[in-house]
Every structure is written in C-alpha cells, then in structure tokens.
Amino acid sequence: MLKTFQRGGIHPPENKLSAGKAIIPLPVPGTVAILLSQHMGAPAKLLVEKGADVKTGQLIAKGEGFLSGNIHASVSGKIARIDEVQDVSGYRRQAVYIEVAGDEWLEDIKLDSVLDREIKPEGPEIIQKITEAGIVGLGGATFPSHVKLTVPRGKKAECLVVNGVECEPYLTSDHALMLEKAEEILVGVQILKKALNVNIAHIGIENNKTDAIEVMQRLATSYEGIRVHALKVKYPQGGEKQLIKAITGREVPSGGLPVDVGVVAFNVGTVFAVYEAVQKNKPLVERVVTVTGKNVNNPSNFRVRIGTPVSLLIEAVGGMTENTGKIIMGGPMMGKAIGSAEIPVVKGTSGILLMPDTETARSSIQPCIRCAKCVSVCPLGLEPYLLMPLAEMGIHDRLEQEHVMDCIECGACSYTCPSDRPLLDYIRLGKSKVGKIIRSRKKQ
C-alpha cells in the first residue's frame, strides 16, 4: 500500500493540464519589477540607486531581518525607478524596476548545463552560499532556506525530507522540474545532506506522477542515502507536517517545527535552486511557473525571470480569453486571486491559473447542518464548524483552546462544506486576532 498521512485530507479533481509539457524558457521581458519582500520576513534593504547599471545575478537588496532573503537582479540593464507595485495580496510594496538591456550575467556565474556532481564546499560554506543566493522555500511559503539549515541549539536533524508532492490541482512546475532536472535535484539533495550533516534523505512524490517517480527512483540508486517514495494522491500532502507524517510517521508537535522531530524539509524547486547556487554560483533569479486553466489554449511550464509581469506569462499561452473571471497566483486550493495581471512574478510563484467566470462565483451560504465533513477532512484534527462561529463572535480564548493556530489554511474544510460556508475565511480572521493576542502576551 502506498504511504500517505492518516488524518483528514481530500481528493479534488487533479486537472494537471500541463503535465508532461517541457519547461520553456520565457524570453526576457522589457522591464521587470523586483519586489523587495519575497520572503516571510521584513523587506530586504535596498543597495542600488536609480540610474545604476546592473548585471543579471547582481545583489540589489540585502536580507537583514531574521526571516529575510537577498534579492538579485534577474535581468541586466538600468534601474529605471524604485517605486511601489501591487503584490499578490493587493498591498503596494516597494519594488526595483529594471529596464532590460541585453542579458549580461555576472562573470562568476556558470551558465552551462553540465551536471556537476562533485560537492566541494563544506557545511558552513554551503549555508553561506545558500544565504547569499537568496534562496527561500519555493513551494510557496517563502521561508528562507538558510534559516532552516541552521538547526537550533539542542535540536538535531536526523533526516532530510524533499517535497515533490505537488498536491495542488493544476500545478505541474515541480513535476516538470523533476522530469528534466532529476540529477541536479539529487545532487542538490546531497548538498543539503552535507550541510545538515544527515545521512538519509526521503523524496516524496504523489502517485499521479509515475514518470517522475520512475526517473527519480532509477537515478537515485547511484546516490547514497536517497530514498524515493511513491505516495497516495491526497491533498494536502504537500503540507510540511502531512508529508513528514506520510514518509516518516512522525508528527510535528502542535506549535513546533519539523526539526523538533529531527526532520528538515525542502521543496524540489528549492533543492534545484540550492544545486544551482552551490555548484553554479547562480543566485535565485528565475524559477519554473505553470500557466494553466481550463480555457487556456496551451497550458505550459515556463522558466521565468523573477519580476516578469504576470500578463506576459498569460500572453505566452495565447492570452486571456474573454470569459476569464479570476487569475490565481498558485493553485486553486491555497493560491491567491490577484486583481491585476501587472503583478510581477516572485520567488514563491509556482503557477498562474486562469479560472473561467462560470467557476469564480461562490455559491450562496446555506445553514450548517452539522454533517461533520469539515471535521473529518481537517488534516490537523480541528473542528472548523466550531472555529467559524467562535471567530465570527470574537471569542478568542476559546479559539486558542481549540487549537486555531494549528490551522495550515489548506482549505479542505471550505472545499468540502456542502453548505458552502466560508469556514476558512473566518478561521483566518480568528487566527490573525489570536496571533496578535499571543504576541502581545509574549511581550509582557
């Protein structure tokens, strides 16, 4: 029997329309807008001024906060202006606009695609390189990778878990990467193992990507201490806690981190970026983005420079059809709907999904009939039917007792609800209030 996590979970229609499509490099755009906050923490500190000439790969902003990452120029050219641009959440954030001139990379970046298996740098040096390259979690959470690699005092990493699950419907960027860059990912895994000083790595891939499982399994035999696991298709298996449970059987404690159970987890996209940073000296300036949707002429996987406006990606698949009602950055379960196609691609952008307007409207809210489906699908063992009214009525102490902060916002509850109740909307509201209360309590 295939491995999977036990509690909760759903199986939405997979709709992997762009599965098996090769990764096409998208032409470098005329201008890019590079946001200064593409990671969890505080915005990176700007290092360049308007009018300066930059080369591709050049550091333009330094991540100084604890959860911040470095930002590099993804193109070469002149800094046109430093201005605000709408980010994925609709806030206006500072971004560096670069007017493209040619495509001149920094000299020390190796642009060849020759596989380099030999890992020269030692642990601390690897972490240093990853920090410099501005690598953050490419699965979407954008947690800085170097922070994960710095295991806190008193904790010990025992194994590495690599996330090739891609449980979100529609998205295929990780799948495409595993098919085309399998060896590079495996070398990346060895690099991360060296940095963490662990002997074993597990790669988890859902069983709807049999070709990727086959390739990875075959190639992994020539690497020491890498095991590839085929997992049963179940959402949200790509959630860090769920994946660790599925592969190792260990449960990350409530409020804890994977390293509490001796695990450090990375997405395959991140692992590939680590390979490029360490072996090719290449900072994180591009990534694979799936552009898809039921009405999209030619759903594709593109290699895109960070900062490229979403509108160019949509044009590359034949443009937006008249009946497009929603543009989602990410997948349909956890992605964010964006209000304009001029938003730039960031490090955490795994896909662009165009939804036809027949599917965009929410159904009207019906009364809760206490069918308990939300309770049975919740992968964290929470009770969404209860959390929603508690959040609605602002009963925050009860919310905290009911473990609202454990919610990973996977959306399985709202997806499943036969009465179309906006469970997750209210749970998010409750989480943000309770989070503030907890933080202010800690300060006292």
């Binding site: 404690p253 409530s254 804890g256 159970v261 206490r370 308990a372």
Partner: protein
C-alpha cells in the same frame, strides 16, 4: 483590462456536493423501503406518506413566510426528508388528520422553534412521532397486518408487532420459545413481513438504503453499525443469561425500529455528534437505552425515546469528545 476580475480568498474550488444534494440523496436511499412498505401496507402507506410529506413541506413554508418572515427554503429537501421519515415511523392505519398534526408539530416545534434547519437539538420526525404516541396511544399502537389488509386504510385488520406480541406473552407468564412459534420467522422478519411502522419493517430494504448512503458519502458507518452491534451484544448477553425470558439478539435487531432508527433516525446529521468517537458513544447509548426500555420499560419498543434521550447528550458529547489533534502526542520513531 476590459472587465474586473474576481478577487476572493482561497480555496477557489469546492465540491459539487450541496445541502440539497445530500437531502435528495437521503430521499433516493429511502426508495427501497418505500417500495416494500407499499407492497406490505398498500393504501395506508401511500396516503400517510403523501399527507406527511405535504404537511411537513407546507408547514415549513407557512412558518418561514408568515411567522419567521425569512426566505422560504423548502427546496432544499430537508422538510421532505422529515415528512418521509415521520410517515415511516407511523402505523399505516392512523387517520390522516393525526398525521397532519404530527407533521405540524415535528416541523413547527421540533425544528422551526429552534431557528430552522441545522439548529434543532432533537430529530424533528421523532419529535412528531413521540408527540403522536403520547397524544393518541391507541391509534399509534394498532398495527395493520402486512399484505392481507393492503387495500384497506383505517379499517385494516390489526395485530401486534412481534415485539408487542412478545412483551404481552412474557407478561402472561409464557415462555419465549412458545411465543416465538407464533411470530414470523427470521427470514420473514428480514424481508419485512410483520406488523409495524411503515418504514421499519424491512431490514433488507433499509440496509440497501444504508449501502447507498455510504456509497454517496452522506453518512458514515459509525452510528448504524455501533448502534446495531450494541443492541445485538446487550440482548445477546440477556439471552445467554436466560433464554426463556429473552428473545434472541437476531430477533431484536430485526424487529421494531432498530434498523430504521440506526440507519435513518440516529444518523440525522443535525442531531448527531461531530466526531467519529462521539458518534460511537452516542450510538452505543441509544443501543443500551433501547434494550433497557424493551426489557424493563412499559413500552414494547424504545428506539424513538432512546434516540431523543441521546440527542439531548449531543452538545455534551461534542464538548468533551474532541478529534485527535495532529501533533498532540509527540511520536518519535
């Protein structure tokens, strides 16, 4: 851009399951039991089901429009389900106006006084049934004979249900074995050839409906299986202790309202617990109370009361029985 895009929080997709699909799924699952009851009780079954469904739907509509002044939502099918289930809990010769009274009570008092669908603590159909049982005990405990009186309505020839017959026989000091010889055999009981409420007689039809509801993921197995198993085990212990005064466990689960109660009445989504563990405690409680009433109570049958009593415990169960949270116990290894 020519038109505005929709911006809303995730998730952006949802199942095509809806409240009304759930309700109509329940109605579809009731078709086999309905066919059996029409075969067994004929005219009476048709009249009572029609009157009950019409009264429930109309009562809900009138209350929503004229008393609560809220949008009428009889289309969701929940009032229809209550109507069918109320009819299935009545004898086939009960006068139609009593059915109307029961339906109005079920919807009016059992459901709408609490705020309508989703808010009622007690199963509305059972509230209606118990109201009628207490108000009209004679009519509610006279049971037309199956098949032979199916072209009569209130003038049908009546007899006792197997459970009623057994209780009476035991009261007269007879032995169970002697009483059993005058009761339909287990196969007839399984198919539904016995006196009883419209919907409760045929175990096989109800089990078909159960299989459909499991297949359509409308309910889970926990409540029906645990409740039937509890009744089986409890009556089994009694039977083993003294087979002269206790009927076999198989007799107990095939007669009366155990099947109907376990599959349709106790599983009412609104009035049953939210966690699997809670559901099993709830179902076991119903099983125990049912047997206690059958064995020691004045009534021959106790499923309705057992379910209503356990309905009252649901908020308590929900408060103390929580799902196992992820990461609550740290597992290592």
């Amino acid at each position: 851009m020519s038109k505005l895009l929709t911006v809303s929080p995730s998730p952006h997709i949802s199942t095509d399951l809806s409240l009304s699909k759930l309700m109509y799924g329940v109605i579809i699952s009731l078709i086999p039991a309905f066919l059996v009851t029409v075969y067994m009780f004929g005219t009476g079954a048709l009249i009572i089901t029609a009157v009950s469904v019409a009264s429930c739907v109309l009562a809900e509509m009138i209350i929503q429009r004229y008393i609560m002044k809220v949008p009428v939502r009889i289309g969701d099918g929940s009032a229809m389900v209550t109507g069918i289930l109320l009819a299935f809990n009545l004898p086939s010769n009960i006068p139609w106006w009593m059915v109307v009274m029961g339906a109005v009570f079920a919807i009016g008092v059992g459901k709408m006084t609490y705020g309508g669908l989703g808010n009622n603590p007690f199963n509305p159909a059972l509230v209606g049934r118990v109201f009628l049982l207490i108000s009209f005990p004679v009519q509610m405990t006279s049971w037309p004979m199956p098949i032979e009186s199916r072209f009569q309505y209130t003038d049908a020839i009546t007899g006792a249900t197997p459970l009623g017959f057994l209780k009476e026989a035991l009261r007269n000091g007879e032995k169970v074995q002697d009483a059993m010889s005058q009761i339909p055999d287990h196969m007839q009981l399984f198919m539904g050839q016995m006196g009883g409420s419209l919907g409760e007689v045929s175990a096989v039809a109800l089990l078909l409906g159960f299989a459909w509801m499991i297949y359509r993921k409308i309910i889970t197995w926990h409540i029906p299986v645990v409740m039937i198993a509890t009744v089986y085990v409890f009556t089994g212990i009694l039977w083993l202790a003294d087979p002269t005064t206790n009927a076999t466990p198989l007799f107990h689960i095939l007669t009366g309202g155990v099947m109907l109660g376990a599959i349709y009445m106790a599983t009412d989504l609104v009035t049953s617990p939210m966690t699997k563990k809670g559901m099993m405690i709830f179902a076991a409680g119903i099983g125990i109370i049912t047997v206690v009433i059958r064995k020691f109570g004045a009534y021959p049958e106790g499923v309705s009361f057992a379910i209503l009593i356990m309905n009252a415990f649901v908020p308590l169960i929900n408060k103390y029985i929580k799902p196992k949270r992820f990461g609550e116990e740290v597992k290592h290894g």
